[in-house]
């Protein structure tokens, strides 16, 4: 009994040490008919109206299967790990803060959608069209309107204001190592203060620490656990969130208020723009279906469906915004940006340096 048992374990252990997955044939013979299913790999925050997706299926005869694989980082890494035998055909949800990693690992098949012509150049970060921009969102400071009014406190209009005595103990931010808006905000501070010189981003962050900034791990706890419009314990009227958060506060209120209880600060050089991309995964066996899905994601019905599902802005200027966005959302005119290759090259070092400066 026992030797047999160990033999089994040994076999499995040996099997495990062998190359995990032999590369499978990446392309389907041209003669075979295009598969009628398409798998979309995306992150946990992905959402889409049933009707819009149903229309795609009706138009193309392709049924779409959605796989959510954790946060954006997990999704990307899982896709890289399974490159030889991809999880699906299309990946959606990679943003400019992690784009470099995706491109570096040659995850995608280039595809230039005919609809790309209408998309503003500022969103088209990859000249080879390995990824296609789908939506964008600006990571901005949000503030509690009532608090600032009641305390007749001026709303800060540049990042440096946050180190002012007046804002002591008022700000809650996310850890860039574990949160996507947290990372975007860190990149914003790097874009503003730089990494070299008399006053670097780390100096700024050290001053924030002196000014009693609270750092929490994720957006959820920052927003619901500490932001003063939702929280009671150690409430903070300033939070790092999105420019689209104020319309959500109106849209998801018990009784929709006349004015939004929160507002985003969209002053120049305070917001960092995240652009979300989709790409066709290498090794797909439904290339034509995948291309049609990319086209579909850029089309007006999908683009118009985005705002109320994911509270992001469509990249297609032809897509009309819902009323709650036009009324309550502010779009920063000059958001901050960093080159995605530079982000990719320095991201880990920046996060580590930030961790050392702020948390230790």
């Amino acid at each position: 009994m026992v030797p047999k048992l160990y033999f089994l374990l040994l076999t499995l252990a040996l099997a495990a040490c062998a190359p995990a997955a032999a590369p499978t044939a990446a392309t389907t013979p041209a003669a075979s008919p295009a598969p009628t299913t398409l798998t979309l790999v995306t992150h946990d925050s992905f959402a889409l109206s049933e009707a819009v997706l149903a229309q795609f299926s009706a138009d193309t005869g392709i049924s779409v299967e959605v796989l959510r694989s954790g946060d954006a980082g997990s999704m990307l890494n899982q896709s890289i790990l399974s490159r030889q035998n991809p999880l699906g055909d299309v990946l959606f949800g990679i943003d400019n803060t992690f784009l470099g990693r995706a491109l570096e690992n040659e995850l995608f098949v280039p595809y230039e959608s005919p609809l790309l012509a209408d998309i503003p150049a500022q969103f088209r970060l990859d000249s080879e069209n390995r990824v296609t921009p789908i939506d964008y969102g600006d990571v901005c400071l949000n503030y509690d309107v009532a608090y600032f009014a009641a305390n007749s406190l001026p709303v800060p209009d540049q990042l440096l204001d946050l180190t002012d005595q007046a804002y002591r103990g008022l700000l809650v931010v996310q850890n860039p190592a574990t949160s996507s808006p947290g990372l975007a905000f860190l990149l914003a501070t790097i874009a503003v203060f730089g990494t070299e010189g008399d006053y670097t981003y780390l100096d700024f962050w050290r001053d924030l620490v002196v000014n009693q900034v609270r750092v929490v791990d994720g957006w959820e706890l920052a927003y619901y656990g500490f932001f003063s419009i939702h929280a009671e314990s150690d409430p903070r009227p300033l939070v790092v969130s999105y420019a689209s958060s104020p319309p959500a506060e109106v849209y998801f209120a018990e009784t929709p208020p006349q004015t939004a209880p929160t507002a985003a600060i969209v002053a120049a050089n305070t917001c960092f723009r995240q652009i979300e991309f989709a790409g066709i995964l290498q090794g797909t066996d439904n290339l034509s279906g995948a291309q049609r899905f990319i086209d579909f994601m850029l089309s007006v019905p999908f683009q118009e469906d985005l705002p109320l599902n994911m509270f992001v802005f469509p990249v297609n200027p032809a897509a009309a915004l819902p009323e709650v966005f036009t009324l309550y959302a502010a779009v920063p005119e000059s958001p901050l940006a960093l080159d995605s290759a530079a982000i990719n090259a320095n991201r880990d070092a920046w996060i580590s340096a930030w961790t050392d400066a702020v948390l230790r």
Partner: protein, 547 residues
């Protein structure tokens, strides 16, 4: 070898296929790139003091959390084993509830409680500043660890205690033993198997603490958090794998010490019937009351704060709005999932997980309790490892290992109960094993001699005797599946959203309605679990009530 021992292969095969194989595959992928071993991860452990500090913090916070939990739960376990009092079952069921709460919700609960306490203290003492500043402190981490793990200690120790031969203690008392000596010389030594089992589980749990430390820790970080950071954010798989291996090595070392200490004791356990009785006089009632007060402060105050929050969210006073609108798709949100559907999905996975974990866990316990070979003892740590293995690592392992037929499960919905079972298994094993080892061999032997075939012996004699332990295991297996677990580990399909998935989805978007509904759904999650626990207890009564 009787044929039924072939059943032992079942848990081994399960562990090999769904744990060892994915784990070894991802370790191989991480540590050997293009055929070259990448050992710089291990070097980093020695060259970067940060990793050493993290490991040290992880170890001592786990030890402290374990000690505190055992210390605080011991009086509870004693009272639950010895006394019958009104509401005992309900209390036992409620004590497990923290286990199912997603960490973000727990964080909200504790923050709400803090503010309630602070406001009360401020108005009471006339202070201008909140006196309790626990946000981001180690104290809060420890408190939440006790909150989560109290039930583990309560159920495992209490269950074991209730089955213990009461004569031993009486013999000691007649011989002149009393007070703390009774605890030190008799009770605690006799409880040793259960104490170690509970301590081991709690240690593993807090050692691999992810959500609690991540969310509440502020500047604290555990090995598990570090692995996540290395694997997901930095995508530095060699370092992540090295850290994961360190985690596993620590765990293995711990398990070996455990098996040493656990040198088989001939335990005197006879009565299946509970020796619990009603508190007889004022002092005993005071003990019971005092402990309920302690449990209330530790476990129920945060839950109550959450409840309060769920009914007052929005700042307009008491409201049922978010409960009432759970079932309505007010804004025609495509995200909408009717709560009944989420509850149904959660229960579906939880029931499958529970059954699978009970089956495999009981078989495992028999395998480990058998005297077949001393080598088998080495298997014991193996079955604990899934708990001690970084979830991110294992999740990546599933992706790279389970990608070919016949095991093309990485995107399958079947992987959810399988992965849940992997985590639930140690709970069942740890609950059942002490009971099994304490089973007098004469009982099944007597039944065999009386002509009962093996399965009937098991069904009629052994099952009733280990039923209490099975119940504890089942409760935890169910809870593991109902709770947060797996959200970060597995690829989910939108077709079958579970309650925690819907809670996360709601919490992922701004807006009071999302927040309110997330809290309402958390309350509902607790409610569903509480009802399920009570039903599980009933089931046991119905099945073995005659014994």
């Amino acid at each position: 070898m009787p044929f039924y021992r072939l059943l032992w292969l079942l848990p081994l095969a399960f562990l090999a296929v769904f744990f060892l194989y994915p784990l070894l595959t991802i370790l191989d992928v991480s540590l050997r790139q293009d055929g070259v071993w990448q050992l710089q991860g291990f070097a980093a452990l020695f060259t970067q003091p940060h990793f050493r500090e993290t490991l040290w913090f992880t170890l001592w916070q786990a030890a402290l959390s374990t000690f505190l939990t055992l210390l605080l739960a011991l009086p509870g376990a004693y009272l639950f084993a010895r006394y019958d009092f009104p509401g005992k079952r309900l209390l036992a069921a409620l004590a497990v509830l923290p286990f199912v709460l997603p960490t973000v919700v727990t964080a909200v609960a504790f923050l709400s409680l803090l503010s309630v306490l602070n406001n009360a203290l401020m108005s009471l003492l006339g202070l201008s500043q909140p006196p309790l500043r626990l946000e981001g402190t180690l104290a809060l981490i420890l408190l939440v660890h006790v909150f989560y793990n109290y039930a583990v200690a309560l159920r495992i120790i209490g269950g074991f205690w209730a089955n213990q031969n009461a004569r031993l203690e009486e013999a000691a008392r007649v011989l002149g033993c009393r007070g703390w000596r009774l605890w030190w010389e008799i009770r605690l030594p006799l409880l040793r198997p259960a104490l170690w089992a509970a301590a081991l589980l709690i240690f593993v749990f807090t050692f691999t603490s992810f959500g609690v430390v991540l969310i509440l820790g502020g500047r604290y970080s555990t090995l598990e958090v570090e692995i996540y950071r290395q694997a997901v954010v930095f995508f530095d798989l060699p370092v992540a794998a090295a850290l994961a291996l360190v985690q596993i090595a620590v765990m293995l070392a711990l398990m070996l010490i455990y098996t040493r200490l656990q040198r088989r004791m001939a335990l005197d356990m006879q009565s299946v019937r509970s020796v619990a009785r009603r508190p007889a006089h004022a002092r005993q009632w005071l003990l019971v009351g005092g402990n309920i007060a302690l449990m209330t402060a530790l476990l129920f105050a945060p839950l109550l704060a959450l409840l309060l929050r769920a009914f007052t969210v929005g700042g307009e006073g008491f409201t049922l709005y978010y409960f009432l609108t759970l079932g309505e798709n007010l804004r025609r949100s495509p995200l909408f999932v009717p709560p009944a559907v989420a509850i149904g999905n959660s229960l579906f996975f939880a029931i499958i997980t529970t059954l699978l974990a009970l089956l495999l866990g009981t078989l495992t316990a028999y395998l480990l309790a058998s005297k077949a070979s001393r080598l088998l003892r080495w298997l014991d740590p193996l079955f604990m490892l899934p708990l001690a293995t970084s979830a991110v690592t294992l999740g990546f392992g599933f992706i790279v290992a389970l990608d070919e037929p016949p095991l093309n499960l990485r995107t399958s919905i079947a992987l959810i109960p399988l992965a849940h079972t992997l985590v639930a298994l140690p709970f069942v094993v740890r609950s059942v094993l002490p009971a099994l080892r304490a089973l007098p061999p004469s009982l099944p032997e007597a039944a065999q001699v009386l002509g009962a075939p093996p399965f009937r012996v098991w069904r009629l004699i052994e099952l009733p005797l280990i039923s209490r332990a099975l119940l504890v295991g089942a409760t935890f297996a169910f809870t593991v599946s109902m709770g947060e677990f797996g959200a970060a580990l597995l690829i989910t399909r939108p077709e079958m959203p579970t309650i925690p998935v819907v809670i996360f989805r709601l919490l992922g978007q701004p807006g009071t309605a999302n927040y309110g509904q997330a809290l309402a759904l958390s309350v509902l999650l607790m409610l569903v679990c509480a009802v399920s626990f009570i039903l599980i207890e009933r089931l046991r009564d119905a099945g073995t009530g005659a014994f």
